[in-house]
Symmetry: C2
Subunit: 525 residues, 2 copies
């Protein structure tokens, strides 16, 4: 494989030498229909309003070939040690299916078979809880599941749960309510616990290492609260399962009602399709729903092996994103789902992208001389239109935009007012925004003038189903992976989170009181 820094590629030189073409010059009604790539799960990726000419697309294809982006993805799928920093395989794709159809062996076992066996145990357990075979310790059926986890054990599963709640309701699927405790701030747990009926709640404790400070602290807080409950017959351990690695201290905790395993080859932010997301989603919506999500993700994983960038949405998205960052110099990207169900999806992508590619050294530990991952932020539309879109339209900086939209709503509870349904209004706004950002508007009053040329892409589909959601998730995971390859990074470690942990322990070991400022000043001595 050709693991070379971006600034040593012919592709970058070529792209820097090309004439830059503005969105306004490129965007025509025809281009809207021709710049459109099918993704998995019935979704499509449209890049018509991106400032890449035919010439630039051709040069991006050359760069993709030169840096062997798809071949490197295939290396991941084959089980190469692509997490070079931690010397680990990268196997999250295998949790949803086997793209290359060949087995991946590690630690003396077939990893595909291992992930399948975990799925089987999640299926069996979740069905028993949902049909009442497994009950709470006082004999009542479980109605709520409460995940205790942080980072990848929280953001992805939470975003996916919220994304499917309306779909499940709209389909009449039996739903267990899901709650999430993540922050070490005791007010997070207190607020959630206040809402819970302990007798009908099952806690899911999620920590791969089994040593995450926040998660263990919240487990203890929850167990203390359960133990001090006056409810007769309540047995706290009968209300808690674990998702962890086989080698973690939690795996040895025999008091748990059940354990579901992950391993070191699934990074936290890539773990939504492992037991980390699978346990809570299967309990909340049934295993079939989670399986459908995996199938959508797998379909997109297969599509991502295509070398022609005009047929590989994740690859095209990655290359255009690199173009915006390294050729045009834009430092941030906004994620704008026109779907309230995706309210926390931008927060998940913020983690996925910024933790994967917010790096200053390449995969060999050498400092790079070019910008890597951008700042990612976003909120659902139309809400954002009444908030930060002012800056996006008329600010002095250009922020590239990634829109997401669906033809139909999830609940199916819509009415027509003033000549249109709410869903039609929602999508009219989405179409309008893309055009407004791209085209702008001249006006004699400069305060009402829009320069336009704000680049955007659109991922769209019929409805936010489990298959579509799985494909959406996999699209972004694969986009981030391809960008990591372009920048020659290891997108699968996170050494940047360590220093804060070490210093926090130092404070806790030495701090006499709870005086914030003193602790901060003392750390500087």
């Amino acid at each position: 494989m050709n693991y070379v820094n971006l600034d040593k590629t012919d592709g970058l030189k070529k792209l820097n030498s090309l004439k830059r073409t503005a969105v306004k010059e490129l965007l025509t009604p025809e281009r809207v229909h021709t710049s459109d790539i099918p993704l998995g799960g019935g979704l499509r990726y449209n890049w018509a309003a991106m400032p890449v000419s035919d010439e630039a697309v051709s040069a991006l294809q050359d760069l993709a070939d030169e840096t062997e982006l798809v071949d490197k993805y295939r290396e991941i799928l084959k089980g190469e040690v692509m997490n070079t920093g931690e010397k680990r395989l990268v196997l999250h794709h295998l949790t949803r299916g086997n793209v290359l159809g060949q087995s991946v062996m590690a630690d003396g076992e077939d990893k595909g078979a291992f992930y399948s066996s975990v799925l089987d145990s999640i299926k069996s357990f979740s069905e028993k809880v949902r049909n009442g075979e497994i009950k709470g310790s006082t004999g009542k059926a479980i109605k709520t599941v409460c995940q205790i986890g942080i980072g990848g054990s929280d953001l992805g599963p939470r975003a996916l749960y919220l994304a499917l709640k309306g779909w499940a309701d709209g389909c009449g699927i039996k739903t267990l309510n899901a709650e999430f405790i993540s922050n070490v701030d005791p007010d997070d747990a207190a607020a959630v616990i206040k809402r819970l009926d302990f007798e009908t709640t099952l806690f899911i404790l999620v920590s791969k290492s089994g040593t995450t400070q926040e998660t263990l602290t919240n487990r203890d807080l929850v167990l203390e609260t359960l133990k001090s409950s006056p409810i007769p017959g309540l047995v706290p351990s009968k209300h808690m399962v674990a998702v962890t690695s086989k080698t973690s201290p939690l795996a040895k905790d025999s008091s748990m009602l059940a354990s579901f395993f992950i391993d070191d080859y699934i990074g936290g932010r890539y773990s939504s399709t492992s037991a980390v997301g699978g346990t809570v989603l299967s309990l909340a919506f049934g295993f079939d729903t989670f399986r459908a999500l995996l199938d959508g993700a797998h379909e997109e994983d297969v599509k991502a092996t295509e070398k022609d960038i005009t047929k590989n949405g994740a690859l095209m998205d990655a290359l255009i994103g690199f173009y915006l960052r390294n050729i045009l110099g834009y430092p941030s990207t906004a994620i704008l789902p026109y779907s309230q169900a995706l309210s926390r999806f931008p927060a998940h992508l913020q983690q996925l992208d910024m933790e994967s590619n917010g790096k200053h050294v390449n995969r060999f530990g050498e400092k790079v001389s070019y910008p890597t991952g951008p700042v990612i932020f976003g909120e659902p539309g139309t809400n954002g239109q009444h908030s930060f879109y002012q800056l996006l339209h008329q600010g002095t900086d250009i922020v590239p935009l990634q829109f997401i939209g669906f033809r139909n709503c999830q609940y199916g509870q819509d009415i027509e007012t003033a000549g249109s349904t709410s869903q039609k209004k929602l999508n009219a706004n989405l179409s309008a925004q893309i055009a407004a950002f791209a085209r702008g508007k001249e006006d004699e009053n400069t305060n009402k003038e829009f320069d336009g040329n704000r680049p955007s892409s659109l991922i769209y589909g019929d409805k936010l189903t489990p298959e579509a959601l799985g494909a959406l998730l996999a699209h972004y995971e694969n986009k981030v992976m391809f960008q990591g390859f372009i920048w020659n990074l290891n997108s699968f470690d996170q050494e940047g989170v360590q220093l804060g942990k070490v210093l926090a322990k130092k404070v806790l070991a030495g701090c006499e009181g709870d005086e914030l400022l003193k602790a901060y000043a003392d750390l500087l001595i």
Copy 2:
């Protein structure tokens, strides 16, 4: 007043000529204690870890004096037409108190007296609802209030409600549950409506103009749902109040149970301390709680009249933010509250800041040649540590950070595990992060190396009370106002949101089906 573009000031020239000093060189334990300014509500603003030398602070003071920042604030307080684009006064400060002690007359009335009278009616109405004097139409007491509004009628009130819920619970204050419907996506309303007991719910319809598409659509959706409810005796109009301006169509809607008024001098994103926030917060937590929030905000408004920047936290924060943006060239800022209660406060600040100062023309409509408002994003700590902090610590770009923290939690439900309480762990992490970002760490392994020199500030206090929250809100409002003056902008209009509205209407008028892509392409013809 000296309304001059930033690039014409002596201050900018002087600041550009100064030697730049890195955070590492400046930050000492002593500086932590000396770079600390009292705000209102018992809060303090600490700027020790910001890259401004004594010389730079002195030059920032000169710029503040040269551009008459405090005098311009006083002009706002006196009732000058500071919203030049819309030719309006800017009176949100007056909703919490009279800073200068002189009356502001507009449209033939004393505006201070007007806002006071609105407060009186909110007090009276909310007390009657809370004590059961005003009931739902079927005779049941109101237990839930549901705000229907978007943008400023949603983000601020929602963030403040979430921020005070734990405090009220911890104090044993009677609480009405609050829900919010904002997005025109019908799934937003459907998800909320599913949770509501109509008989015990009071809806608060909030639209200053009375013409906001999303809000009217959601009102109709809610009213239709109420009308089709099989509950005997349910009278929809008895379950809805309005917050609007006296001249809006809503004000004439006699079917409303009550109306609470605002006026054109309160911008949406500045309306949290008007009836827009006051109605829902007084109903949820009692009028005294809202009054305490106003008092905290007023205290901070008074402090913001101080001309010495080392004694005026909002002014210092504004000037340092300008320094980071225009001298050091950083395009974004992260807001990082170590308080789960502030989970949506960054989203409110995102609106407040980006909608106010995301502008490319000055207050006279002339294009400016320098960067204005930055991108604002953020999530609570410690959650963010397990997410995007990787990029903040080790990414190729520098993102300035604004931390917020409190010594004590709100609920008071905390336990000691592994030698410390959760709250102590939370704050240990906060102190550790500030030090880690500033100082960094050398390491032979470059992948474990931290360059440091990541600037940050800290707003901190004893506990997140209504007074502290009010002061926090006012601090940021005043910071944004001062920055608008530095950039010579009108921070109080939002022409950038108009074009999308116009095009969306065009789509709705002409669109045959609900085909997203067709509508988008058609707009380009």
